[in-house]
Amino acid sequence: MKMKLILGGAYQGKATWAASAFGLAQTEFGDFPAAGKWGQCHLERFSRACVESGKDPVAEMAILEPMWRSCVLISREIGCGVVPLDAKERLWREAHGRLLRYLAVEAESVVRIFCGLPEVLK
């Protein structure tokens, strides 16, 4: 399978939907980068960790491409609130937005989950 990107707000049922749509068991999910897992969750935590260690999440993601090119990638959207006062929070939001745009280009399909319901964006 080619990479699929699943987006949505907090607690919307992204992984639950992905599990049933792609026939994955709970045990096949892990937090990115989780070696050998079909479902790679919480990309927003990965981009957070990158920003905290002064790295660019897009560049780091590109290096890890063999790890995710045939996976289901799952991420929270974090850019819909008030622009944070804290500089690091701002940097994270922006870096994560760019990461999702990069991945959406690479993805075979992009789906947004709202209240457990899918909306196909690509």
């Binding site: 707000g9 907090a10 919307q12 929270r76 609130g81 944070p84 994560h96 209240c115």
Partner: protein, 186 residues
Amino acid sequence: MKLLLIGGSKSGKSALAQELSKALGGRLCYLATMEAADAEDRDRIARHRQERAGWGFVTIEQARDLEHCFSQLTPDDTVLLDSVTALLAQEMFDGLGMDATAGARIAKQLLALGDRVKHVIYVADQIFGDGMEFEEWTERYRFQLAMVCRTLAKHCHGVAEVTAGILQWRRIPEGLVTGSERGKFG
């Protein structure tokens, strides 16, 4: 028919829910769940009352223990419940502590309400779209609200997201939206 409308603060959820209620017909009941805590709340309630004056709604106020109002409802009613958000807040944080079972309980009560009347429209707030990690109680509240909404969504004929007064169905209710109404209700 059960419908669920979710949207951000002042996105026009209640106004659209009122229009949908009218389109559904029957006796229109506005089930108000917000308990006024201060003057700001009282102003908000007054504004909502003014906005629905003349629409023909009977107002029922029930801030917690939803089933206590069931005796005031009849099987032909169309109930607009505004909002799931306030009801959960009051059930979850009643007094000093946090009730971790409130979400599951109100989801059940809300569905039971829907089964007793002809039509119900549930209104809830979209509070899941920013990147902040809040402190534990707020996160648990966000989680429970999401779970209540997802449970309702599973049983609803229609689920819509409301943005700036515009309604977008994420699940289109079969048979509700016909002809000239199609434009108005997405």
